[in-house]
Structure formats: structure tokens, C-alpha cells
């Protein structure tokens, strides 16, 4: 990895944030920010999922759990301390990281599928806890009042949009850092052959736990602004299985080997989902995700980036 490519990435990231900020300050139509926020949220979730699922080969079915925990951490802080949004996001990341670490410690010694099932278990147990937690609104949910937007924004959704852009850039940068550093090499070694990796001195359990905690922290951070975005949170939507399916489908469709894969998958699938939801119905919207997931897993396991690489090799030269 040369220094120039690092510069390129950071310049692109800065340009993205600057563009988003100017758009938020100048454009009028709120819908684009509303929809854009969802897509960005999926960029974060997909990148976070890929750290463990793509690099390391451990499938997390519980993205919804981490997301929901993030959202409810924010709710708890709003209700008890009226904490500002950055504090909510930071706290959510901490809780999510701890949750990831805990789940990992319990199951990462076992074969991959047990980890996957355990994440489903964590999702259902946490949802049950929240449903039975009166203070957080129980099964019916809780209403949150949106505070006035901070200057220079004239609208709260636009402000959240810019925050989501910053979070998404941070998530992608973290994923990219992990991919290119010693962490990523270790994780890939685990994915390809865990026993061989262990034998050659890769600290497999430690690496898996780090990946699990980082991935969980990012997912929960993505969930934290949900309370403000919807101004209403209920367990069924915060712990929605659709988050889990999407966070898994997007990296697989985009390609799991490179950090750009989840981004491509999230932007593509997120946009398609928004279009289908507006134009057809929300059931077909989730159907699209399921069908595309199976089609890609069977037909193009390397995802869009893998397909592009193949085409490049064949026709590019």
C-alpha cells in the first residue's frame, strides 16, 4: 500500500463530506436526505458486517440486534440524561462493542455456524428484554421529541444526513484500515484455514474478538441516530430482521474481499430498495433482497467487484 493511495482515499472522503454538507445547506427537497440517510445507514451496517463476515468468514445474523441496541442506548440516554447526539453515538458504539465482545467470547471458539446461530439468539433475547422493559416503552415503543437543529442547518433530517455521511466515511475508513493492516491479513488467514493460521502463530481468538467488537460497535453507532430520525422507536422495527438480511446481502452482492464491495452493494441495493418501496410495496422490497442474495451467492460468489475484476482481466488488456 503506497502513500499516494492513502491520500487518494482521504481526499475522496473529504470531498464526499464537503459535497454532502453543501447539498444539505443548499438543496430544498427533504426527501432526498430522508432516503439518502437510509442508504448511508446501510453503508455503515454493510461495512461493519464485512469486517467479520467478509474478511474473517464468520457470519453475523444479528445485525438487527446491534442496530437495535444502538437505537435503544440512545433512547435511554435521551430519557434519563437528555444527552446530545454525539454522546449517544459514542455510548451506543461502546455498548455495541461490549456486546460483540461478549457474543464472541461465548461462541467464537466453536465452528462458524454456532456463532451465526448465537447471534440470532442474542437478537431475540435482547428484543425480548426491551419488550419487557417498561421504562423504554415496552412493545408499543417510545416517542422522542426532535430538538431544534443546530446551526448552520435549517432542518433536523439534513443534519442527521450529514452526521450519517461522517459516520459512513468513518466506518469505511476503519474497514479499509483493518483490511490493509496486519489485522486484515490475520483475519484472511483465519477465513482461509483457521487451523493452519493458528499453527503458524496467528492469534486467532484475539483477532476474531477484535473484529467482532469493532463490527458490533459500528453497527450500534449506526443505530443510535434512529431515535432522532424516526422520532419514534419500537422494538419490532429497531430489531428488524431486514437489517440483518440487508447487512449480509449487501457485502455479498458487492463483493466481500475489498472494502469498496459493501459500499457498492449498499448504495446499489439501498437505492433499489427505496425505489421498490416507493413504487411497488415494502414486501416486494424485502423479497428483492432475498432473491438477489441467493442469486449472487449461487451465481457470482465474488460479488460485483469480483465480476468486474474478471471482466477487467479478460477484456481490459
Amino acid at each position: 500500500m503506497t502513500g499516494r493511495r492513502h491520500y487518494g482515499f482521504w481526499i475522496a472522503a473529504a470531498v464526499a463530506v464537503a459535497l454532502a454538507a453543501t447539498a444539505a445547506l443548499t438543496l430544498r427537497n427533504e426527501y432526498y436526505f430522508f432516503a439518502g440517510y437510509i442508504v448511508l445507514q446501510f453503508v455503515i451496517l454493510a461495512s461493519a458486517w464485512n469486517i467479520l463476515g467478509g474478511y474473517c468468514g464468520y457470519v453475523n445474523f444479528g445485525t438487527g440486534a446491534f442496530f437495535g441496541v444502538g437505537a435503544y442506548t440512545a433512547v435511554l440516554l435521551i430519557k434519563s440524561l437528555e444527552a446530545p447526539l454525539p454522546v449517544q453515538i459514542a455510548a451506543a458504539a461502546l455498548v455495541g462493542g461490549a456486546l460483540g465482545l461478549g457474543t464472541g467470547m461465548l461462541t467464537l471458539r466453536l465452528r462458524g455456524i454456532f456463532f451465526s446461530i448465537a447471534t440470532v439468539a442474542v437478537a431475540i433475547i435482547l428484543q425480548t428484554v426491551v419488550i419487557n422493559w417498561r421504562y423504554l416503552g415496552g412493545a408499543t415503543g417510545v416517542q422522542i421529541l426532535k430538538p431544534a437543529p443546530l446551526a448552520p442547518f435549517d432542518n433536523y433530517v439534513k443534519m442527521l444526513f450529514v452526521i450519517a455521511v461522517v459516520l459512513a466515511v468513518a466506518a469505511v475508513a476503519i474497514a479499509r484500515y483493518i483490511e490493509t493492516s496486519w489485522l486484515g491479513r490475520g483475519l484472511r488467514a483465519i477465513r482461509d484455514n483457521e487451523e493452519a493460521a493458528e499453527c503458524t502463530g496467528v492469534p486467532t481468538l484475539k483477532l476474531k474478538l477484535i473484529a467482532c467488537a469493532v463490527s458490533g460497535a459500528l453497527m450500534s453507532a449506526a443505530g443510535a441516530p434512529l431515535a432522532m430520525y424516526q422520532s419514534f422507536v419500537e422494538p419490532a422495527s429497531a430489531f428488524d430482521l431486514n437489517y440483518s438480511v440487508s447487512a449480509l446481502a449487501m457485502p455479498i452482492i458487492g463483493g466481500t474481499a475489498h472494502w469498496i464491495g459493501p459500499v457498492i452493494g449498499a448504495v446499489l441495493l439501498g437505492t433499489v430498495q427505496q425505489l421498490v418501496q416507493v413504487n411497488i410495496s415494502s414486501e416486494y422490497n424485502v423479497m428483492v433482497v432475498g432473491v438477489l442474495l441467493v442469486v449472487f451467492v449461487v451465481g457470482a460468489p465474488e460479488g460485483i467487484t469480483g465480476l468486474a475484476q474478471k471482466l477487467w482481466r479478460r477484456f481490459g488488456r
Binding site: G53, F114, S116, V289
Partner: protein
């Protein structure tokens, strides 16, 4: 008492998974979705021909057997043969299949609950003053017990059953002896799916069914299979009983809203303390 009946029912729902995941090592998380599919199939057949739901479920088994064989064949060709079944892809595939079944059912039938009618549904057997046992639970209990015992006998007594166990123990050895492990596994997966049809009939006899029900049953079935020790039929029955009893205890102590967490909590406990299960290999 409730717990025992419930437990046998859980064993019946899980036994197909016990074959598919426990013996064949296929990460079949779509199994509960197939069970729910079986319930809707039962509802359709029972509604159209006016048959008893149990008979309808049995009538569906050949169809499900074929579906199971096809699914395994597809899974084998696309993943196992290429050696990409471990880790992400096999799991993602079955997760996607489960999701497609669930959403397909929502699109086809709506999110409303469905139920069936039979002479024994709604009646209950009185055993003394306090103890009343709903007939529907007894029917489910009897069928579940019969199913588990029959499948256990099939696996230990018949030629094909023993072949399935052999493939679970040592696949290369079977290949060296001139048998075709893929065909054996295909057959076993077909049986596992056919059993899911009967389990689906039981599911809709026990209570109303809705498309998203498979989520809770992912926890229950995997809890039972892991607790049993992968692939043990008698263990499946015992583990089902343990889950059923602990769920009904929690139900009476804490209330119905905590019930879904029981199976998953138990599952996490087993994974953390004794991952090889009670009767593990």
C-alpha cells in the same frame, strides 16, 4: 404436564434438522421456514379437500421429499462440490432461502394468522379437577412421539438408515466402499424435509400460524438439536422435553412475553458450557 406435551412437539419440529444439520452437517437454517411452509400447505390441502390436517400433512410428505432432494442436489452442485460450502456462502444461501419462503408466504397469504379445524381441536381431556389437557396437544404429542421413534428406528434398523449414519461418520470410507455418498445424503435430506411437512401439520394443529413464525423456531430447533448432541435421535426427544418444560415454567413464572427468550437463552448456555450437547458424539 404442559411442558412434556410441548417438549415432544418441539422434538418433532426439530427432528428434521437433527438429520440435516446433525448428521449431514448442512447449515440448514431454512428448516423452520420449511416447517412453516408445511403448515401453509396443510392449511391449503385441509381447506380444499376437507381432510384432517394430520392426513393433509402426511399427503404432503412426497412433495416435500422431492423438494428436499432438489434443494440438496442444488446445494451440493453449487457449494459442496466446489468446496465453498463452509463459512459464509452455505449459510447465506439457506438464510436467503428462509427469507424468500417467509416473504413469499406474506405476499401469497398476507400476514394474518391461519388455523385449521378438526374434531379434536378445541376440546380438552379432563383428568381430575384442576388438570385439563387440550386434545390438540395430545394429538400433537402422540404424532410427535411416533415420528421420533419411527425415525430413530429407521436410522438404526434399515439399510438406508444405516447408510445415512455411515455417511455422517465417515464419508470418504463410504466412497471407498463403492457407495455414492451424495445419493445417500440426498435421500436423507429428502426425509428431513418430508418430516418438516408433518411437523408443519402439527404446528398448525397446536396453534395458529403466521409467516414470520420461523424466526422463533430457528432458536427452538437449533436449541434442541445442539442440546441433544448433533444427530442423536433419542437425545432430540430428551432435549425437546427439557426445552418444553423450561419454557412452560418460565411461562407460568414470568409471563408469555418472555417465552421466546427461553430457547435462545438455553442455546447460548449450552454453547457456552457444553457445546457437544448431552448425548454428543
Amino acid at each position: 404436564m404442559q411442558g412434556v406435551l410441548l417438549g415432544c412437539f418441539y422434538a418433532a419440529v426439530s427432528i428434521g434438522l437433527s438429520v440435516a444439520f446433525g448428521l449431514l452437517d448442512v447449515p440448514h437454517i431454512a428448516h423452520p421456514a420449511f416447517v412453516v411452509l408445511g403448515s401453509y400447505g396443510t392449511w391449503l390441502v385441509a381447506g380444499r379437500y376437507g381432510w384432517d390436517p394430520l392426513v393433509s400433512g402426511l399427503a404432503l410428505t412426497p412433495v416435500f421429499f422431492v423438494i428436499g432432494v432438489l434443494v440438496y442436489r442444488f446445494y451440493y452442485e453449487t457449494f459442496e462440490k466446489r468446496g465453498t460450502d463452509t463459512g459464509v456462502r452455505g449459510l447465506a444461501f439457506f438464510f436467503g432461502v428462509a427469507f424468500i419462503i417467509e416473504v413469499g408466504l406474506i405476499i401469497g397469504f398476507g400476514v394474518d394468522q391461519r388455523l385449521v379445524d378438526a374434531p379434536y381441536i378445541g376440546k380438552s381431556l379432563e383428568l381430575g379437577e384442576e388438570l385439563r389437557v387440550p386434545m390438540r396437544m395430545l394429538v400433537a404429542f402422540g404424532t410427535a412421539l411416533a415420528l421420533t421413534v419411527l425415525l430413530g428406528l429407521y436410522l438404526s434398523r434399515t439399510f438406508m438408515g444405516r447408510a445415512i449414519k455411515a455417511v455422517a461418520q465417515d464419508e470418504p470410507a463410504l466412497r471407498l466402499m463403492g457407495a455414492n455418498p451424495v445419493r445417500v445424503k440426498q435421500w436423507a435430506f429428502g426425509i428431513a424435509t418430508a418430516v418438516a411437512a408433518v411437523a408443519g401439520a402439527l404446528l398448525i394443529i397446536v396453534g395458529p400460524v403466521e409467516p414470520s413464525m420461523d424466526r422463533v423456531y430457528i432458536g427452538r430447533t437449533f436449541c434442541v438439536v445442539v442440546l441433544a448432541g448433533l444427530g442423536s435421535m433419542s437425545g432430540t426427544l430428551v432435549a425437546g422435553l427439557i426445552l418444553g418444560i423450561s419454557e412452560s415454567i418460565v411461562l407460568t413464572l414470568l409471563g408469555a412475553s418472555w417465552a421466546p427468550a427461553v430457547s435462545f437463552g438455553l442455546l447460548l448456555l449450552v454453547l457456552g458450557v457444553r457445546p457437544q450437547g448431552l448425548f454428543g458424539r
